[in-house]
Amino acid sequence: MELLLAIVAGVLYATGIYLMLRRRLAQLIVGLGLLTNATNVLIFTAGGLTRARPPVLPEGASTLQPPFADPVPQALILTAIVIGFGVLAFSLVLAHRVHQSLGTDDVDEVGRSG
């Protein structure tokens, strides 16, 4: 499972960076979104994977029996998703503004007019 998720994260990183290097703003933004998700998958995998072992105390017990899922990476990912979502929404608006005021979504054209 780790191997599969590692490959998924790798592919997401690769496509994200590739799209960020493209000339169109829309692709750049899709690339940013993929990069955020790649990071989330990576945190999830690096934090250690367990199957169906929530970190909840069973009735009557006072300590958890390992292995159990580590809640910290999940909390980190949750925060990262929220931040990533907000930032993605902002960059979409910004790209729309660029398109509105410059009439192009080609990064090279944007650079030339600026």
Binding site: L25, L32, G47
Partner: protein
């Protein structure tokens, strides 16, 4: 409570600003009062840290490393005070007029949020919260930068947003790997675990990711090109806040990481940072000499001088680190002031291109006199604070045996002098090609510049006690046991 005030005050001010009516004068006063409050809370915190040592706040009484930890050592406390000073200066300069569209769309609350993010980054004792504070700061800066519609500004904003988001992704990736490798993100806890680890391959990957992420934020070669491409486009007050604070947060993160984590880990890392810093100094300064726009000259000067501070950091000796901290403090005040000076120029001449300037010395003698100190302090003319900071870095690098670093700092210092003298000659001394200025420079802006100039003079006159403080701060940083003990308690 004392520790959280520099974060809570700007947040509360921002909330009040959002809820109160959008009359410009009212908003400006609230923002100014909030910034004064933040500065006061910063000074109070600094006094306590100076007297009683490192202060720690475990939020909700969750013991470290499980809860959210705020830590203030001397470095953080001094930077918080500097943040307060920049905040007061920037909100004070708003009385001289802000672009009405910006003011209607949340200029003042966003600035407070920016200050909150910066303070949070300086005070947090946890790497993930450092990431969150970076994001708070960045999103505020994104909006401040993009609140305008001229195509140059929109284009600059887009570059700025893209590269900073990439840096954040890299930072977060490093955090994920670090958590996987060590099981903690509390900095004190990490320092303990990191020194006992033996997996150089993973450590090197994590260290490189951190180095790249923070170098982008700090603006180090070869990752600084976004900075001069964007800092000269927003209005002067925003440029002043960005130039004074944002790159310094990157340098602060580098200082933390290098003193807490990497003081015994991958051996090539300080050498790599040193190489990057040297290239940053030289290339930044050469680029500054080739520019014809005052604000771009300042942006490249900013880049070059960030190189000083990180070069001194990479030596990891108490003397050099102390010089680095002194230089950071001096530079925050001076570069903020100089960006505000460009604000006056924009107001008078509507340009910062050197061709359009000139004659200030004759036409605006008060303004010229006030600008004299920051211009030549940045240039490093004795006895001003820039000279003292450079001297400390040169002495530190000679003491560490890194003679070429000291030599390079001197050469780049000479080039800075050339660059600033040229600005002085062309913008202030050279007779103006146009008639007398139609508008006055504005009292609020001049008062702000005067206040910051006084701070620079105070740093110059009070250099000896300040050096004593930066030496103590450097000693605190290099002996990480004190920090670890303060955060994790007596068991370690």
């Amino acid at each position: 409570m004392r520790l959280s005030l520099p974060i809570i005050v700007p947040l509360a001010t921002a909330v009040v600003l959002l809820l109160s009516p959008t009359r410009p004068l009212l908003q400006r006063w609230i923002a100014f009062a909030g910034s004064l409050g933040q500065m006061a809370s910063g000074v109070a915190l600094f006094l306590v840290v100076e007297r009683e040592g490192i202060q720690v706040l475990q939020i909700g009484n969750w013991p470290a490393p499980f809860g959210i930890t705020l830590v203030a050592d001397l470095l953080a406390a001094m930077l918080i005070v500097a943040t307060g000073i920049v905040g007061v200066a920037v909100t004070g300069s708003a009385f001289g007029g802000v672009d009405p569209r910006r003011e209607a769309f949340g200029y003042h609350p966003l600035l407070q949020i920016l200050l909150m993010g910066v303070s949070g980054a300086f005070l947090t004792g946890d790497l993930f919260n450092l990431y969150v504070c970076f994001e708070v700061m960045l999103v505020a800066s994104f909006v401040l930068m993009a609140l305008h519609r001229t195509s140059a500004q929109v284009e600059a904003a887009f570059k700025y947003v893209t590269i900073n988001l990439l840096a954040s992704s890299i930072f977060l990736t490093a955090l994920g790997l670090l958590y996987g490798a060590t099981g903690t993100l509390n900095m004190a806890d990490l320092a303990l675990i990191w020194s006992g680890r033996d997996s150089p391959a993973v450590d090197l990957v994590i260290a490189m990711l951190f180095l790249v992420a923070f170098s982008i934020k700090a603006g180090l070669f070869p990752l600084f090109f976004w900075l001069p491409a964007s800092y000269h486009t927003p209005p002067a007050a925003i440029g002043a806040a960005f130039a004074g604070l944002l790159t310094k947060v990157g340098v602060y993160a580098l200082i933390r990481i290098f003193t807490l984590l990497f003081n015994n880990a991958p051996p090539g890392l300080p050498a790599l940072l040193l190489g990057m810093s040297a290239a940053t100094m030289v290339i930044g300064m050469v680029a500054a000499l080739s520019e014809r726009d005052f604000r771009r000259v300042l942006s490249f000067n900013l880049v070059a001088h960030i190189g000083y501070t990180t070069a001194a950091l990479s030596l990891l000796t108490p003397e050099a680190l102390s010089g680095s901290i002194f230089y950071i403090l001096h530079h925050i005040v001076v570069i903020t002031n100089l960006f505000l000076v460009t604000g006056v120029m924009l107001r008078l001449r509507r340009t910062t291109l050197i061709e359009g300037l000139g004659g200030f010395y004759r036409d605006q003698p008060v303004f010229a006199l006030l600008a004299l100190v920051p211009v030549f302090s940045l240039a490093g003319v004795p006895p001003l604070s820039g000279f003292l900071g450079k001297l400390a870095i040169v002495q530190g690098s000679f003491a560490a045996g890194a003679y070429w670093v000291g030599g390079l700092v001197l050469v780049v210092g000479l080039l800075t002098l050339v660059s600033m003298s040229r600005i002085w000659a062309e913008a202030f001394w050279k007779p103006s090609t146009r008639g007398p200025d139609a508008v006055a420079p504005g009292r609020a802006l001049l008062a702000t510049i005067a206040a910051l100039t006084l701070v620079t003079l105070a740093i110059t006159i009070g250099a000896e006690p300040l050096f004593a403080l930066t030496s103590r701060a450097a000693a605190q940083l290099l002996d990480s046991q004190g920090y670890i003990h303060a955060v994790l308690g007596g068991t370690h």
